[in-house]
Amino acid sequence: MKILVCISKVPDTTSKISFKDGNKKFEEAGVQWIINPYDEWYALVRAIELKEKDPSTIVHLITVGGADTEPIIRKALALGGDEAIRVNAVSDDSFYVAAQIAEIARQGSYDLVFTGKETIDYNASSIGGMVSELLDAPYISLATKFELDGTTATITREIEGGEETAEVSLPVVVSCAKGVAEQRIPNMRGIMAARTRPLKIVEPAAIETLTQVASYELPPAKAGVKLVAADNVAELVRLLHEEAKAI
């Protein structure tokens, strides 16, 4: 069993979001970078659990990014995984990134590709689906449970207003949401071991891009809250009805 886990680097959830160069670039100054929570807490931990159950399982991590993603991928390796691959390219085009991952996945004949449900910065929820299409493999998005029995995966996923469970034969690409695993904290042994685990750097394949960021903008500031006294709930209802036209 070979599992490829897709790891991305994102700004910490509490980062102040601002832009520079005429709103064309994200202001990275002062930003703390973390592993995308969905990748770390769910995709990676589930892969490690599968390896713990069956030690012959091989877990590889992949990130598409510049040298500045290395601390992040080392941090991921401290949780587990046999080896990491960094495709040395920086792009905000989902198709370009997905095609790089698909290239590695194809060469490595992985049985399972795990991604997070979405990155918390770009919020595309796209890479997994694109990779699956490029591999011509089934895709289960927004998984909340993942069980494996031989070469059959039983996966529960989010649907509107509930969940559904599906069975599928490997290989499969899965995007992982909350529920797939429980968050773990890396321990000292893992952090030490991560230093000796290989981090391979691969040059990108020639892939076209299909989109381009033109600019960013921040939402207009809120006018400020209108407070209503706790003993005057009728006034709140009047405002919601007459002013906000929300009820």
Binding site: I17, D93, T211, A214, A230, L236
Partner: protein, 320 residues
């Protein structure tokens, strides 16, 4: 050149988010000086010609019951064939659970650039630039699609449905549909509730409610408002409420017309899931709760006193 809009459905009915997508696609077609068609995969009990009222001229129908279950691989291939058959060059899909599975596959298949989570019509004055939310609702990005065929997945609740006059012509589309590789073995849906991502009004509770036994008043308020219920992450983590109600950065992102937050502090990760709501009401006993900074209306007070009163006042307003 034309616009093709995926009509998503469940349990025999077209989803509300698809009416938004149809309206959006029809408006986009007008902007581009072309026509818009809907694409229905599978079968529904709804009146298809009546979809013309959203501005589409045609409903392309792949009448095959196996498509009533979603296998993203089969869907993407089928839609790709429909795109070829109709000559469409802009495809609109809802950015809901179906769209998140299907749109990226279709994008890779057609080498068509995708903007996932669009919130407005594209700016076509110079290229094809679509606005989408990024940083979990804290900012927007304008993304140019540079490929010939373009895909937009539209955030639910971000484009107003407009129903006018008109009937659409239903055309059966003969395309080969592959056998699904994904076998659905169980569906577990909460019956009779409004799905959170489609709800116009959402009533949400946090740890301030002390325990699951106190959710009755939240449900009563939701009931009079025809609202969906939601909760903060610790509430789902401690199993006071089911996981699919958890909103925020790590939960579901929503953008209802009205979001009522009760006993929720307003942590940045919670706001990331709800800050696109049009109107936010906060009820919290702590005047310093950060949520008030993101709110439009607020009451500083004890939820156990305020919420039942609010339910009564809304009943009065609605005459029930």
């Amino acid at each position: 050149m034309s616009v093709l809009i995926l009509i998503d459905h469940a349990d025999g009915h077209i989803k509300k988010s698809s009416f938004e997508a149809l309206t959006y696609g029809a408006d986009l077609a007008k902007q581009l000086g072309t026509t818009a068609a809907g694409l229905l995969l599978g079968t529904v009990n709804d009146d298809l010609p009546a979809l013309g009222k959203y501005g589409i001229t045609t409903v392309q129908h792949v009448n095959n019951e196996s498509l009533n279950n979603l296998d993203a691989q089969v869907y993407a291939k089928t839609i790709a064939e429909a795109v070829t058959a109709t000559g469409a060059d802009v495809i609109v899909i809802s950015h809901n659970q179906t769209g998140k599975a299907v749109a990226p596959r279709l994008s890779a298949r057609l080498k068509a650039g995708l903007v996932a989570g669009a919130i407005a019509l594209p700016d076509t004055s110079n290229g094809f630039v679509v606005k989408k939310t990024v940083f979990s609702g804290k900012a927007f990005a304008n993304i140019g699609i540079t490929s010939a065929v373009k895909i937009i997945s539209l955030n639910p609740n971000s484009y107003k449905t407009v129903a006018g006059e008109g009937t659409a012509e239903v055309k059966e589309l003969a395309v080969t549909v592959d056998a699904p590789k994904v076998k659905i073995t169980n569906v577990n849906k909460v019956k009779g509730e409004v799905p959170l991502t489609e709800a116009e009004v959402v009533v949400s509770g946090g740890r301030g409610l002390k325990g699951p036994e106190n959710w009755g008043m939240i449900e009563d308020l939701a009931h009079v408002l025809h609202a969906a219920t939601a909760c903060s992450r610790p509430v789902a983590d401690t199993h006071w409420r089911p996981h699919h109600e958890h909103v925020g950065q790590t939960g579901i992102q929503i953008a209802p017309n009205l979001y009522i937050a009760i006993g929720i502090s307003g942590a940045i990760q919670h706001l990331a899931g709800v800050n696109r709501s049009k109107t936010i009401v906060v009820i919290n006993k702590d005047a310093e709760a950060p949520f008030f900074k993101a709110a439009d209306y607020g009451i500083v007070g004890d939820a156990f006193e305020v919420v039942p009163k609010l339910t009564e006042e809304i009943k009065k307003l609605k005459g029930v």
